[in-house]
Symmetry: C2
Subunit: 233 residues, 2 copies
């Protein structure tokens, strides 16, 4: 059986990417990364999503990106809130975590070499993203070459690829694809700055991740079971 | 002043690479990575080398590659010893740490984005290496593209490069270059499996790293101040 390592953050995109490759017949091994993110609740969401999707395995690897700082997700900087549609995706916001996806995919490739998996899957999408450089098609192409050149599998002539099945999708596309695949939206968490209420993380509804998610559900004419009662936009 | 982030392991190659870029006029920021290596003594060596070379800063970042296993350097597998010259570099040995250099360079690029450095420097060399896929020129080229595509600096059109100034050198070349630059060999530690004697790490003299180092010093007709009293080959 073909194996894939899926980078699972617990959010909408990676859950859908995992469901997609599973539906394509891969044995899916989930890799969540504790990189010092303030929204550590996403790791619990990832674990729950992996169980619900009946993935073959789930593991968490730690990397201390917070030691390098430079991002509102890992350092004591304010997470931007209430940005207008026209602002999101223009320039690189404070929530960019320097070189995060290079590190995450590096860890995914390490796992692929160990698990003898032929693909590492990441849920990046270039359209409805926050303007992160490491979500763009050129970055994906570069990492594909790294996969072939820098791994045991590549050196031995075995297949090793980096797949980003959602890279050309809008958030609304992703919502539609996820619904067709039965992705358990209620278990996912996209928010960069969740509050904790009654022991459960509650999305803020105002960060880029919440706003992009809300727009995706609205454009797909679907209900997000995790949405705050009244949208703030 | 131009800044560079140098991946410093405490060994011969990275110490020489750091001295080289410093001599070229860069302000050099050292990054050592605690990836769960059994030879953790190399981190102390890196710190001491950074101080001796008067680098601008030194930091250690942790990443738990040991959680993924698959290598004699991070898991409970035997480090190969006493391999013949003809064996070293043929095939991929047990000491290969899956995708390690992708992760290390990812961390280096993260540091470069935060420190506004225009280069990440790594001491890999393709000739006298242990046969690791992520020491080859094709891998370096792939990571250069990642640097341009996947970082803030790249996206903003600023210079960001990955430099491997020793990639075409033999170990003897590196010894000669290091001597010309005054690299403090006595502070470096290359061994994969050092013993501890009187609170100081002592190289085993028998792993690939020790053998390649001994061969380099021998070919350069130089004395290695850290070498065991009697070579075992």
């Amino acid at each position: 059986m073909r194996r894939a390592v899926v980078l699972l953050s617990g959010g909408l995109d990676s859950a859908t990417a995992a469901a997609l490759v599973k539906a394509e017949g891969y044995e899916v091994h989930a890799l969540a990364v504790d990189y010092g993110q303030r929204h550590k609740a996403e790791l619990d969401a990832a674990r729950t999503v992996a169980a619900a999707l009946q993935l073959a395995s789930f593991r968490v690897v730690r990397v201390d990106l917070a030691a390098l700082g430079g991002s509102a997700l890992t350092a004591d900087l304010p997470v931007p809130k209430d940005r207008a549609d026209a602002e999101i995706g223009v320039g690189i916001p404070l929530t960019y975590v320097p070189a995060r996806n290079t590190v995450l995919l590096g860890l995914g490739l390490a796992a692929a070499d160990v698990l003898e998996a032929e693909a590492v899957v990441i849920g990046i999408n270039a359209l409805d993203c926050s303007g992160y450089p490491d979500c763009r098609p050129g970055f994906l192409e570069a990492m594909r070459r790294v996969a072939r050149e820098g791994t045991r599998r590549g050196a031995e002539g075995l297949r090793i690829d980096v797949l980003a099945p959602l890279i050309e999708d809008s958030k609304a596309d992703i919502v539609r694809r996820g619904i067709a695949l039965g992705v358990p939206w209620g278990l996912t968490l996209s928010c960069y700055d969740p509050a904790e209420e009654a022991g459960r993380p509650t999305p803020c509804g105002r960060c880029d991740a919440c706003l992009l998610r809300a727009r995706g559900f609205a454009e797909a004419h679907e209900i997000d079971p995790t949405a705050p009662a009244v949208p703030t936009t």
